[in-house]
Symmetry: C2
Subunit: 431 residues, 2 copies
C-alpha cells in the first residue's frame, strides 16, 4: 500500500490560518515530504471570493470558489478545513469524508456543536478526522489527551483557553483597570474583535471545554452541556479582592470527573497566585491536567494566531498523510464511557462572596447562619471597613453550586445585608 506518489491536499478557507497553511505547505515542502514519506502537494484552495486580498500568494489556477467540487475531486487525498463556523464547513467535511478523504479541521464551534455527526461519518467511511488546532491553537493538547494519557485516568482539566479574556483579566490585574478600559486596550491591540461577545461571554471557551471534556472523559459532551459565564461582570474590586487573598482572576474552562459523572463549566474564578495557571500572562493559553497516575501536567503556549494554528494543522496533516499512505487510520472518537453530564447545581465548587453589611453586633453570626442553613461551611471570613462601609468577605469550603447559590439568595434578602457586591468561584486551591 505504500507509495511515493504525491499526496494532494485541498485547503478550505484562506484567511489568517489558511494563508499560513498554504505558506508552510510551500516553505516546508522538503521536510514534509521526508516526514510523510511522500511529497505533499497543494491541490487547491477554496475561497468565497477569488479577488479578495490575502496574506499569501496562492499559485496560479489553484484558487476556486467551488469548495464542494474541490473536496470531492478524484485526485484530492486529504482536506484541511479552516473556514470555521457551522455551515458550509459541516457539509464540506461530510462531503469530503464520504468521498474517502481524511480531514484535518480547526473548527471548535462545529466539533462542540455536532462533533458526533462528523465522527460517525469518519468511522463509517474509514477515514481520519483530526483536530489538534481546535483547542488552544498551537498547544498540543488533543493528542496528549487522546494518546499520551490513554493509559491513565484523567480526573480534572482546568484550561485558560481564550486569549482575549486572559489578556483583559491580566491587564485588569497588572494595571488596576476596569473591564471596559481593559477591553478597549485589547481591541486597540488586536486581541479582541470589534464585537467581542464570543470571547468575553465565554462562548469560545465553552466550545473548547466541550471538546476537552469529551476527550478527557471518553464521552460526548457538547457546547450545550457547558455551564457558561463570561467576564463582563468582573470588576476591578473583584480583581483587587482576589489579590488580597493571594489569588488572581482567570476565565477557566473546568472539566471534572465526579464519581462517574462529568461536570463542565466556563466561568471566571479566583485561583491562588502559586498555581501554575496563575502565571499565564497576556493572550497565552494553558491547559492544566490532573490524572490518577501522571499527577499534574500543564501545557502552555499561544492559543490563537494564524501561524501557531497552522502549525497544529500541519502536525495533524503529517499524521493523517502517513496513515493515508500506508492505508491505515488513527484512533477514532472514543466515547465508550458515555458518562452523564451533571447539571451546574450539582457541581461541587467554592464561593468567594463580598457582602456590604450594617456594622452592628451580630452581623457576622447572622451571615454565618445563612451559610450553615444551606450546609455550606465557611473557610475564612475577612471583615473590612468600619461603620457605614463595613464589608464581609467570605470564602466557603466545597459545596454544591445549588447550595451556594441558595445561600447567596438568602443573603440578598437579609435586612442587615445592604448588598452582595461580588460572588466568584474559587478553584485550584487545596481544600
Amino acid at each position: 500500500m505504500e507509495s511515493d506518489k504525491p499526496l494532494k491536499v485541498a485547503v478550505l478557507g484562506c484567511g489568517s490560518v489558511g494563508s499560513q497553511v498554504v505558506r508552510l505547505l510551500d516553505e516546508q515542502a522538503g521536510d514534509l515530504a521526508a516526514r510523510v514519506g511522500a511529497p505533499v502537494e497543494l491541490a487547491g484552495v477554496a475561497v468565497r471570493r477569488l479577488d479578495a486580498p490575502r496574506e499569501v500568494e496562492v499559485p496560479e489556477g489553484l484558487l476556486t470558489t467551488d469548495a464542494t467540487g474541490l473536496v470531492t475531486r478524484d485526485d484530492v487525498d486529504l482536506v484541511i478545513e479552516v473556514i470555521g463556523g457551522i455551515e458550509p464547513a459541516r457539509s464540506l467535511i461530510l462531503a469530503a469524508l464520504e468521498a474517502g478523504k481524511s480531514v484535518v479541521t480547526a473548527n471548535k464551534a462545529l466539533l462542540a456543536e455536532d462533533g458526533a455527526t462528523l465522527f460517525e461519518a469518519a468511522e463509517k467511511h474509514g477515514r481520519d478526522l483530526y483536530f489538534e488546532a481546535a483547542v488552544a491553537g498551537a498547544i498540543p493538547i488533543v493528542r496528549p489527551l487522546r494518546e499520551s494519557l490513554a493509559g491513565d485516568r484523567v480526573t480534572r482539566v482546568l484550561g485558560i483557553v481564550n486569549g482575549t479574556t486572559n489578556f483583559i483579566l491580566d491587564k485588569m490585574d497588572t494595571s488596576g483597570a476596569g473591564f471596559a478600559e481593559a477591553l478597549e486596550e485589547a481591541q486597540e491591540l488586536g486581541y479582541a474583535e470589534a464585537d467581542p461577545t464570543a470571547d468575553v461571554e465565554g462562548f469560545d471557551a465553552a466550545a473548547k471545554a466541550a471538546i476537552l471534556a469529551s476527550l478527557a472523559f471518553h464521552s460526548r459532551v457538547t457546547a450545550a452541556d457547558v455551564h457558561r459565564e463570561g467576564i463582563s461582570e468582573v470588576t476591578a474590586a473583584d480583581v483587587a479582592s482576589a489579590r488580597e487573598m493571594g489569588s488572581v482572576v482567570k476565565l477557566l474552562a473546568i472539566c471534572e470527573l465526579k464519581d462517574d459523572a462529568v461536570a463542565v463549566r466556563v466561568h471566571p474564578a479566583m485561583i491562588p497566585a502559586t498555581h501554575p495557571l496563575a502565571s499565564v500572562r497576556e493572550a497565552y493559553n494553558a491547559v492544566f491536567v490532573e490524572s490518577e497516575a501522571a499527577g499534574q501536567l500543564m501545557f502552555y503556549g499561544p492559543g490563537a494566531g494564524g501561524a501557531p494554528t497552522a502549525s497544529a494543522v500541519l502536525g495533524d496533516l503529517v499524521t493523517v498523510a502517513r496513515n493515508h499512505r500506508v492505508g491505515t487510520r488513527g484512533a477514532g472518537e472514543s466515547a465508550y464511557a458515555d458518562r452523564t453530564v451533571l447539571p451546574m447545581g450539582e457541581t461541587v465548587t467554592r464561593y468567594h462572596v463580598a457582602i456590604d453589611v450594617d456594622d452592628r453586633a451580630g452581623v457576622l453570626a447572622a451571615v454565618a447562619m445563612a451559610f450553615a442553613e444551606h450546609g455550606v461551611s465557611i473557610q475564612t471570613v475577612r471583615q473590612e471597613g468600619r461603620d457605614a462601609d463595613a464589608q464581609l468577605v467570605v470564602v466557603s469550603h466545597e459545596a454544591t453550586d445549588a447550595q451556594l447559590a441558595a445561600t447567596v439568595e438568602m443573603l440578598r434578602g437579609m435586612e442587615i445585608v445592604r448588598e452582595v457586591t461580588s460572588v466568584m468561584r474559587v478553584e485550584g486551591m487545596a481544600e
Copy 2:
C-alpha cells in the same frame, strides 16, 4: 486484521516503574480494553529474583527469571522494558523485536547511547518502538515533538529534565543554602540517591538532551555528542548573583539549531525570573520548545516517579496495542535531516563572569579590553564592593563558547585579577 483476541503483554522489570505498570494494567483493565479495542492481559513479569520484596502483588505464576524466554514466547504480543541501563535491556529489546513483538521502553540511557541499533531493528522487523517515558517522565514531550510539531520547524528546546538537580537548585535559591546542604536535604527526602553522580553531574540530563535533540532536529544525536557540566560547582554566591540580576540558576538541557547544525549541551545557566522555566519548582520538570510557526510552547509536570512514568508507558502501550491489532505501525525513527553536531566551542552562548579585582584606576578598562580582544561584546558590568573586596560582574552578549572561554582564560592570567570567582552561562534572555 482486527480482532477482539486479548493482547498479551510481557513486562521486563518490577521496580518502582514496573510495579506501577503491573498495578495499572490490572486496575485500568476495563478502560484499556475499551481504548485499545481488545483486552490487554499481563503475560508475565521478568525479574532478577523471584523472592524480592515488591510494591505490587504479581498474580501467581506470572513472575519469571527467564526474561529472554518471556519476550520470545509465541503468545506474547507486546513487551514493556522498564529495567533500565544498557544490558540486559538492549539484548532483550532486540530479541523482542526480532521475535515480532512491538516494544515500549522507558530506557533513556540505552536510547541515548545506542538508539540507532534499536530503531534499525524495529524498522527491519516492522514493529513499533515507543519511548515517551524516557524523557521527562509523565510529561508528553516525545509524542508532541514526533507528531504535533511534525509540520513545523523546531529551532530550540530548553529543558529542565532532571528533578533531583532542580530540587537542589530551587532549595539553594529559596533558602540560601549551599550545594552540599541542599544535596543532603534532597537525599533525606528521597529526591537524590545515595550516590547522586548520575543526577548532579548531568549524565541523566545529557541522555535526555540527546533524545530531545534527535527528535527535534530529525538527526541522530547520542549522549557522547552532548557537552555536559553538572551543578556540583554551583555556589550560594552564584545563586545570589543570579538573583541580583533578576535571574535564577537552573540545570538546562539545551538543543539548538544553528544554521543547519545542531548544538546540544547540559549545564547550569542563569535564566530570567520572568522566563516560564524559572517558575518550575522542586522536583518538577518542564520542556520549553521554540518553533518557527507555533512560537513558544511549554510542557510541565512530574519528571520521574513510579506512577507518572507508568502513565507514560501505558499511553504508549495503548497506541502500540491499537497498531498491533489493526496490523500497522506508527512512525519510526526520523533521522533524515542527518545534521552535524557542533563542537561546544562553536556553540553560541553568553557568559556571566564574576571577577575579584584590585580596586585601582584602569581595572575596568583592562577587563573590558580582555573581552574586546576576543571579539566578545559586553552587555552590562556591575561593580560591587570597594577597596580590598572590589568585584566586577560582567554579562556578555552572544559569542562562541570558545571566544568566551579564551576571554576567561586571559582574565585569569591578568595581574589585576585576583580571582575569577564564577563563570556561568546565561540563557533564555532576549539579546
